[in-house]
């Protein structure tokens, strides 16, 4: 599972920064069928967590209503240099993670 995380490379302490995430995932709703009629089992990313230098800063619980290849964005406050790490798990138990570094000076 591939994901992209975008945030500013540098920020000043206390600055509000935008974090953007996209993840390649089919987000199967459980309502679709194969050509031969078999139902396609529901499989969505059910939870996603963002941690800033290890501390949780954002959490999303998701369901069938989210389109494939989801896009999320949230804001947080730049505190110290390090990294923001995103990790998630889907209904099939597949886990993924992606991180982006940030340098806080000013």
């Amino acid at each position: 599972m591939l994901a992209r995380v975008q945030l500013p490379r540098t920020a000043k302490p206390g600055e509000v920064i935008e974090v953007r995430i996209t993840i390649q995932h089919s987000m199967e709703t459980g309502f679709r069928f194969e050509l031969d009629g078999r139902p396609i089992p529901k499989n969505v990313i059910n939870s996603l967590v963002a941690r800033y230098n290890g501390a949780e800063i954002f959490r999303a619980e998701m369901g069938s209503g989210i389109a494939a290849n989801p896009y999320l964005q949230f804001y947080t406050v730049a505190r110290q240099s390090g990294a923001i790490e995103i990790s998630w798990v889907d209904d099939a138990g597949n886990r993924g993670a992606e991180r982006a570094p940030i340098s806080v000076t000013g």
């Binding site: 994901a3 996209t22 494939a68 290849n69 896009y71």
Partner: protein, 231 residues
Amino acid sequence: MKSGIEFVSDDLRKLQADDFANPGMLWVARGEKIWGEAAGNGGKSCAACHGVAAKSMQGVAARYPRVDPGAARLVNLEGRINLCRDRKQQAQPLGPESDELLALTAYVAHQSRGVPVSVTLDMQNRKDFERGRELYNRRIGQMNLACTHCHDRSWGKKLAAETVSQGHGNAFPAYRLEWQSVGSLQRRIRACFYGLRAEMPPYGAQELLDLELYLAWRAGGLPVETPGVRR
């Protein structure tokens, strides 16, 4: 001449223009990874021979499909990438519409974003071109319509929830909301065959390559948009 992007909603236009939110960029990012990975018995990556794609692949997609000198037949960009898989990497060719092939094709085509489409017609591709043009103008399927009926005579009109465009291929591989994925130009053309209730040629069929060539010729001058975003 208008690209298909001019016929989509504002939301989709914004999505395509946003290099982060554009879901097609996930495939481009995946292609960039594969570009650097060794594969096959040759043990070489694309990068081992072609170096930095931004330089070596710039403008390449705008010239496809073309008659490949080595293969002596018309190939599209996917076909050319698979020639390298086969002959230069001694690796299994990638399946049509596989995520890997879409990712590499989107990545290579993305290096031509903004470059005007320009295929040249010559003795070698003349026959392919003429067959493509003939098929484009031939009535097919139970709907008994030709490509030209919609994409030349009816563009701008509504068809169900969609506005018919001029049917150019310059955004492909493109992300379609309906597919929830990136797909090739052949997949898009096959969808039009399906809509006309005509028998869909299999991926890689000569008819589809001929049509791709004809479409590229009539789109001459439009900028490559890959990865486009469509409904």
